[in-house]
């Protein structure tokens, strides 16, 4: 009994250590398992020039490993598709296409979200230093740009979530403006 108790405590403490040591590799491995799917989002932009934040809502669909579709429904319909190294934005019947290979800054920006979704640590560390806090049930990953050309645009990105599910992405731009994205999965597994 006592031995069992000892064993139990040992196991529990082991579990606690494992919990405390929830690390980036584990997080990335979990994210990489994510099969993709649909989610609702609310995006709140806070701009210095405006008196109050702008709120946009819509749906996004992630198809691993590199396709992300973000369909804004309010205040104005817009569809953004990120497919490999192409971003296209459809708005007011017009489509703008950006070849990311031509725009390294935009690519680094887009890569932050895409590589997080795909759990691709190596890709993230090319442009950012990573810092993880919290547990696997509630983790917060902070990306700080290392390259000067990204740092002139962006202070940091904070991603939080539970398990392999991302809940919020918070961009803090270099000029102090910020954009907070809250994600709610639509088809629970």
């Amino acid at each position: 009994m006592f031995r069992n108790l000892i064993a139990g405590v040992a196991l529990a403490s082991l579990a606690a250590t494992a919990h405390a040591a929830f690390n980036i590799d584990q997080l990335m491995a979990g994210l990489a398992q994510h099969p993709g799917g649909r989610a609702k989002f609310v995006e709140k932009r806070t701009l210095a020039v405006l008196d109050r934040p702008l709120v946009a809502t819509g749906e996004m669909t992630y198809t691993p490993p590199d396709r992300l579709e973000k369909r804004t429904l309010t205040p104005r319909p817009e569809t953004l598709v990120l497919d490999r190294d192409q971003v296209s934005i459809e708005r007011d019947k017009r489509t703008y296409t950006i070849n990311l290979a031509s725009r390294p800054e935009a690519l680094a920006f887009v890569d932050s979200i895409r590589s997080t979704l795909a759990g691709n640590r190596a890709a993230l560390e090319k442009n950012y230093t990573l810092q993880l806090a919290g547990s696997s049930e509630h983790w917060v990953l902070t990306l700080t740009p290392t390259a000067q050309r990204i740092a002139t645009l962006l202070q940091r990105i904070t991603v939080s979530g539970a398990g392999d599910q991302i809940r919020t992405i918070d961009y803090l731009l270099a000029d102090g403006d910020r954009s907070e994205l809250t994600i709610e999965p639509l088809d629970p597994r």
Binding site: V49, Y96, A101, R103
Partner: protein
């Protein structure tokens, strides 16, 4: 030599000297006007202007290959700054951010003159509210990134309006901040020369400069691994000219050497050989003189045709020397000259038909050959005899005589097979008649296949669309041209809205007419009025009027700013876009509005009828350039059919008048028609792509081949042909086959086609004439 001889020689020398003087002062050209219509329609005139003087004809595309992306980008920047500093280049773009920023700054600075959204309504309270609300909505999107830095200056989003109208999809890819191919393996630059596209010397200098600067940049930066590729209309012109120059020399040399060898073998006398070349030289000179005097410019391809003329013009001297030696001069004049004269006249008929062609190259070839043949014949008849003195005896060995007579007897067995074969060929051609002729002008292009491939690749890399569909407006002055372009643009806007076309470009986008600019400027309210309306307009919006002081200031200064003229665009990188679409020609100004096919379907054609209906009454012309070129070639081909038929009829009438017997006429014509049929069927079977010059070649087979057929006709009623006559015909045919056959070696399609048709055709004409004519002997 007799006194008559000396006098003739003197006169001939004077004529040659005068001719040499004309040639010395002639303008030689190898540009594409050889192929462009002499009497263009309005639509064709636009294409001609574009090809000769348009900004597009001055564009050169450069690609830097090899090394790594960083090296290529460094080279691109280095080359850009080196070339931009030279006066030979009007614009050098490499997609560098400096160029992009310059264009953006220009658009931002002049947005109230340039933006089509600027109307009095836009600056009312409601208009401002709508525009600012829409800008704020845009801020919520990643697409708003462009807008954010300028929001307080441009809250109505005019810059977005302007940039959004640009064809973002057509922008080339970029690596390390400069243009690159889609796969990133080549850095790209776009250079516009100051020299016109039709100025081949200027283009050649510009290209040499680019190569030299590239080499210098490679050396100074130690970038030896990099390679430069270059393409564009200027390069095509320079290369074509080099090819034609090279070929004129090469072909004439081959043809002359081979003919001299044959003549030396036959004559065994250098003196007679030299005398034989006299009519040839006279003919070649006369041809160039005639062309120069009539057309002002002599095309290189025309001179290249000289190698065939040599083979044809030397015939008369051969007849003279071989035949008159035995008969004596007077006898020769009586017995043979009429036949030769008739042969000359049939040749002249053939070439004269080409004179009427609207295809300037073809007309020149006709005039050149016609004057050449005529001069050679006249020199043979009137200059050679007094110069040569007593007719020389050309040795005719018994062995050759026997061989010729033996051959003549044996050639009769060809009769039945030739007739059967020709019937089969005729049937084959009748079945294939719809697939015989290549339907487009590219068949005549002197651009090599490698050059064309490189050009297509660079064009795709740069995303420069083939401006296949154009709307064109013309006007006496620039302002009217721009106003008309704006009116046509409004009609096209409706087609864009309906999804008929994806969009269009217009010179008025970056350079609106003064009237439009003035109207836009007049839409701007004074500062205090704008301030008042702004207060009301932003009520309820998250943007307070207090933050928009830069906007009010910008509008106030825009009210005072002068209107834009063409010079204001210099240095913005937008000048090229305007210059390439706004042309100043001999007949005033024309503005081009290239159309883009509906999105997602780049291969589909634009429905011409719909566009024409939309433009009806606006004075704008819709041009399908590819269709125009095809139609142009179709016209040439149709005309060539017509002219060849007319030439053939003229020859038939001439022969009938001279022979005065339908039966003899048939005897002369039959072998010629069979030869033509066999040659065309043979060429088609051999996979030769037949075009209009092959068609012209058919006429020339009849015109040239009839010379031999006529000799056999003379003989049909009388004695068997004597050895000297037979030999003269064999030698004359050989030189003609050599002359035209040499052209078949040419890589210039025009010359190749004539050579490959007339060379074998002349030989067949001789053989078949022999086969069919000797039956009563």
């Amino acid at each position: 030599m007799t006194r008559v001889g000396w006098r003739t020689l003197l006169l001939w020398s004077l004529a040659m000297l005068a001719g040499a003087a004309v040639v010395w002062n002639s303008r030689f050209s190898a540009d594409i006007s050889f192929f462009l219509p002499a009497r263009p329609t309005a639509e064709q005139q636009i294409l001609v202007d574009q090809l000769k003087e348009g900004a597009v004809s001055r564009l050169l595309m450069l690609a830097v290959e090899g090394g790594d992306a960083t090296q290529r980008a460094r080279m691109s920047r280095d080359l850009q700054s080196r070339l931009a500093a030279l006066p030979e280049f009007a614009s050098v773009q490499n997609g560098g951010t400096s160029g992009e920023n310059a264009a953006r700054d220009f658009l931002l600075r002049h947005r109230y003159l340039l933006s089509p959204a600027v109307t009095p309504e836009r600056f009312t309270v409601a208009g401002l509210n709508a525009a600012i609300s829409s800008s704020i909505d845009l801020l919520a999107s990643p697409a708003g990134m462009l807008l954010k830095p300028t929001l307080t200056r441009d809250p109505t989003g005019e810059l977005v309006e302007l940039v959004g109208g640009l064809d973002a999809g057509a922008e080339p890819a970029s690596r390390d901040g400069v243009w690159a191919s889609r796969d990133g393996k080549r850095a790209l630059l776009l250079v516009q020369t100051r020299a016109l596209g039709s100025d081949t010397d200027g283009q050649e200098r510009a290209i040499a400069l680019i190569r030299a600067q590239f080499a210098a940049a490679s050396d100074s930066a130690g970038l030896g691994a990099l390679k430069l590729e270059l393409s564009g209309p200027g390069l095509f012109a320079v290369n074509s000219r080099a090819t034609i120059k090279h070929e004129v020399t090469r072909l004439s040399l081959i043809s002359l050497t081979a003919i001299i060898a044959v003549l030396l073998f036959v004559y065994r006398s250098p003196r007679v050989l030299l005398l034989s070349l006299l009519p040839v030289a006279s003919g070649a000179l006369a041809g160039i003189v005639a062309v120069s005097l009539v057309y002002g410019t002599v095309y290189g391809i025309t001179v290249g045709f000289g190698s065939a003329l040599i083979g044809e013009a030397v015939d008369y001297a051969i007849y003279y020397f071989v035949q008159s030696g035995r008969l004596g001069l007077d006898n020769w004049r009586q017995r043979y000259w009429p036949t030769i004269r008739l042969g000359v006249l049939t040749s002249v008929c053939g070439f004269a038909a080409l004179l009427l062609s609207g295809f300037p190259g073809l007309a020149q070839l006709g005039l050149y050959a016609l004057s050449g043949v005529l001069a050679a014949a006249l020199v043979t008849r009137f200059v050679l005899p007094p110069l040569a003195g007593a007719p020389a005896q050309i040795p005719v060995s018994a062995r050759i005589g026997n061989a010729l007579h033996g051959g003549l007897r044996r050639v009769r067995i060809l009769r039945a097979p030739a007739a059967v074969l020709a019937l089969a060929a005729f049937a084959y051609l009748a079945v294939q008649r719809h697939e015989l002729w290549l339907p487009n002008l590219s068949a005549l292009s002197t651009v090599s296949a490698e050059d064309a491939t490189l050009d297509t690749r660079l064009r795709a890399d740069l995303g420069t669309p083939d401006a296949r569909y154009l709307v064109v407006v013309t006007a006496p002055d620039r302002e009217t041209a721009l106003q008309t372009a704006e009116r046509a643009g409004r009609r096209l806007d409706r087609l864009v809205a309906d999804g008929v076309i994806d969009g269009y470009d217009s010179p008025a986008r970056f350079l609106p007419s003064a009237a439009t600019q003035a109207a836009r400027r007049a839409s701007l309210p004074p500062a205090d009025e704008l301030q008042r309306r702004l207060q009301a307009a932003v009520a309820g919006l998250p943007l307070s009027a207090g933050k928009l002081a830069p906007f009010v200031a910008d509008v106030a200064s825009a009210r005072e700013a002068p209107l834009l003229d063409r010079r204001a665009l210099d240095g913005s990188g937008l000048a090229l876009a305007v210059d390439s679409l706004l042309l100043h020609g001999a007949n005033g100004w024309s503005a081009l509005l290239p159309l883009r096919p509906a999105a997602g379907a780049p291969t589909t054609d634009i429905p011409a009828a719909t566009v024409r209906a939309a433009l009806a009454g606006s004075g704008a012309l819709f041009v399908d350039t590819k269709g125009q070129f095809d139609a142009l070639y179709g016209d040439y081909l149709q005309q060539a059919v017509w002219l060849s038929s007319a030439g053939f009829v003229a020859i038939v009438v001439l022969l009938l008048a001279a022979l005065r017997s339908p039966r003899r006429l048939a005897g002369v014509l039959l072998p010629l028609v069979l030869a033509v049929t066999l040659v065309i069927a043979g060429l088609h079977l051999a996979g030769e792509r037949l075009q209009l010059l092959h068609l012209v070649g058919m006429l020339l087979i009849v015109a040239v081949g009839s010379n031999y057929a006529l000799f056999f006709d003379r003989n049909t009623g009388g004695a068997e042909l004597d050895t000297a006559t037979l030999m003269s015909m064999a030698v004359a045919a050989t030189t003609t086959v050599i002359g035209f056959g040499t052209l078949a070696l040419s890589s210039v399609p025009v010359l190749h086609a004539i050579g490959v048709t007339v060379g074998p055709g002349a030989l067949l004409a001789l053989l078949l004439s022999a086969a069919f004519a000797s039956h009563e002997a």
